[in-house]
Symmetry: C2
Subunit: 471 residues, 2 copies
Amino acid sequence: MDMSAARDDGGAGGARERLVVIGGDAAGMSAASQARRMRGPDEWEIVAFERGHFTSYSACGIPYWVGGDVADRDELIARTPEEHRARGIDLRMRTEITEIDTARQRVRARDADTGAESWTAYDGLVVATGARPVRPDMPGADATGVHGVQTLDDGQALLDTLARTRGRRAVVVGAGYIGVEMAEAMINRGYEVTVVNRGSEPMSTLDPDMGRLVHRAMEGLGITMVDDAEVTKILTGDDGRVRAVATQDAEFPADVVILGIGVRPETTLAAAAGLPLGAHGGILTDLAMRVRGHENIWAGGDCVEVLDLVSGQERYIPLGTHANKHGQVIGTNAGGGYATFPGVVGTAVSKVCDLEIARTGLREKDARRAGLAFESVTVESTSRAGYYPGANPMTVKMLAERRTGRLLGVQIVGREGAAKRVDIAAVALTAGMTVDRMTALDLGYAPPFSPVWDPVLVAARKAARAVERHR
Amino acid sequence: MDMSAARDDGGAGGARERLVVIGGDAAGMSAASQARRMRGPDEWEIVAFERGHFTSYSACGIPYWVGGDVADRDELIARTPEEHRARGIDLRMRTEITEIDTARQRVRARDADTGAESWTAYDGLVVATGARPVRPDMPGADATGVHGVQTLDDGQALLDTLARTRGRRAVVVGAGYIGVEMAEAMINRGYEVTVVNRGSEPMSTLDPDMGRLVHRAMEGLGITMVDDAEVTKILTGDDGRVRAVATQDAEFPADVVILGIGVRPETTLAAAAGLPLGAHGGILTDLAMRVRGHENIWAGGDCVEVLDLVSGQERYIPLGTHANKHGQVIGTNAGGGYATFPGVVGTAVSKVCDLEIARTGLREKDARRAGLAFESVTVESTSRAGYYPGANPMTVKMLAERRTGRLLGVQIVGREGAAKRVDIAAVALTAGMTVDRMTALDLGYAPPFSPVWDPVLVAARKAARAVERHR
């Protein structure tokens, strides 16, 4: 970055320049760590602010901690504040940034314990403020026993509630990734689980026909699935504790309620500072993760929008793996190197007990919205050679552009061995491959790993025929 | 195909044209089936000759049948002769083609039972004669108790021997795919297994440093690994049964010996007919799988050479998944459609008990031979998020071209979840992707499926840095 930019206070002082990072999780601390690798403490001061108690933790791991697969909270922490400090990062915990002053290149910080405020000047700034959970605006949403699962603190609060609760009925509101993963967690803890979902099927990131398969499989796991249901109220007992979740036409008894209705970009600071926001509310950056129009400000992680390489449009996809990549790119660029984050293809994988769910690229409605005409095919295949023990059935749906045959998207629902096959399609999407070319892909084959035609290739063959027929 | 080509006998007769297929396994019967889908019996007669007892079976599955994972031989048969006939293919079993007469467009067939010979005219011909095992030219190679495992008959003969044999010592000669898979099979049957290997490490399709990992892991499974050993003699007892395998400097007691020393293209017929053969002894075809210089002859499967898309050179890779694709392409083209087999990138996966082994692209020595300068990196990572149960360590080696950073090859050795990750690299190789671009691939991430940086991405990052350093 151009560290010679004029500053109107001497806060960064001395010969060293100062990189300030707002947010101590994946994007922010990856950026800080990578910048530190590129520039030693003699050259640069790196100051990071985190308003919470933890740094660099896996929010994606919270459902598995709650469910008991991960025994201890600390296992989810990739790097503690002390470890970051040992690497030469001046990390200020429990300190919230309350204002970004781009004109004077400084941020105002408030100590959460003392309430004391102070300004810190920056030469370069990284905005990694993450996401905030959508909290439903309904009566009872703040009742005892109602929990989000965004942060480690949330996870701990939920576990504390579970330890105190004798009833075994859990209602999960929302049936996206967090919802289905929390359904698994509560099943694993021996709860009776009801999932209340606004959509027609769970996993609205899939097409409804594939979501239907998830619905059935979750019912098969003993989960009560309630679709097309708007939660209108959370009912409490005399003790102020949750006792039921009410929808427009029913009530579901609940000893604990888990809110898994998604997140929004946390851009309060950015908006106040006049940083550009997109249609989904996230900060807009260029490919080097520099905030558009701001030479020495970068942004990454759950607070930014990303370019969808398939549709050519901006999307909001809060996901740890992107945040880490953003941080890496930001740290490299802020450190005077060169790196880009070219965009995403929308890959996501999840599981509910032994059910595996994966998607990449466009759903049918995404393709339509992007102005693309397409063919859509669905095939059934198996994870291994049919005769090999543990060959699990899976369903693969594939979309290909009409006429050109370009791959547009893949969705997979199956059991062990299903989800990570989506990576084949993710790379093919990135490369702009046609489904016809995909039919000849040289994928790993041996009976314990795949049928002689990998399920993704079976889908590609059918998609190629569909494209050919309608050419 | 051009069915109007002049023929000098009337054998194909009548209004229908005749496609003749030599070889009733994957390539041949896929070609026949696909041609049949494209052309009905009124238009075309399709005659297929198979010298053995079986059609369309999975030779790759034989180790798992011998090892007991697959209970019954018939499970390995994808389609029986009767099933092929019911689909309108005139299949002649136990009938060997002894000559291809390209001038008169006919083949000579011999009935294995009666010895009777006859000519059959063709308008189009598919050569799918497969491979023949390398049989070592040494004393005792034909002794009772010495078995190859190329065909179902071989597998049955081995199982018959095992049923009759009381001793529990097995020596496997060769440590390639067949060798290591048969080592697993014999371990699973409770044998003491010794693998005798000519190379310095098992799995010469990997670089030696990765082969070393396989060596150690196989020893960890209780397998005795003997490297740098040339088998000089197979010793027999007074009863004519095998009793030991002798190398240049040792003897290994054996109650059964399994030969897994690879195969060569079976091109006796093709060579006699003047079809063009390549440096590896396989038939040379164009991208439509048409034999070079022969308008109405196609060839595919284990008897042909294939184009390696990474090195730009021909290779010999006998593998069922290629054979099936060849057959599909041949049947489409022979049926008047259009399809190509663009080539391979050299992907292969295998396992020995819980050890998974995968490779794609070029090894170091392949890259050197192809005239490529490269960087080579190796990383350790895990199959799942480190904190998630069942996160298995894996080693990923990656080669990238110097200067351009183009991916050249990947090798993976690990446990459950390791092998099929090679598909990511296989698609990236096909697309000619650079390792730098790979670092931003949008691969499926969730703690049960991957660390936040997939192991392949960890390798790509390290490779990209190595390329950058030496640019």
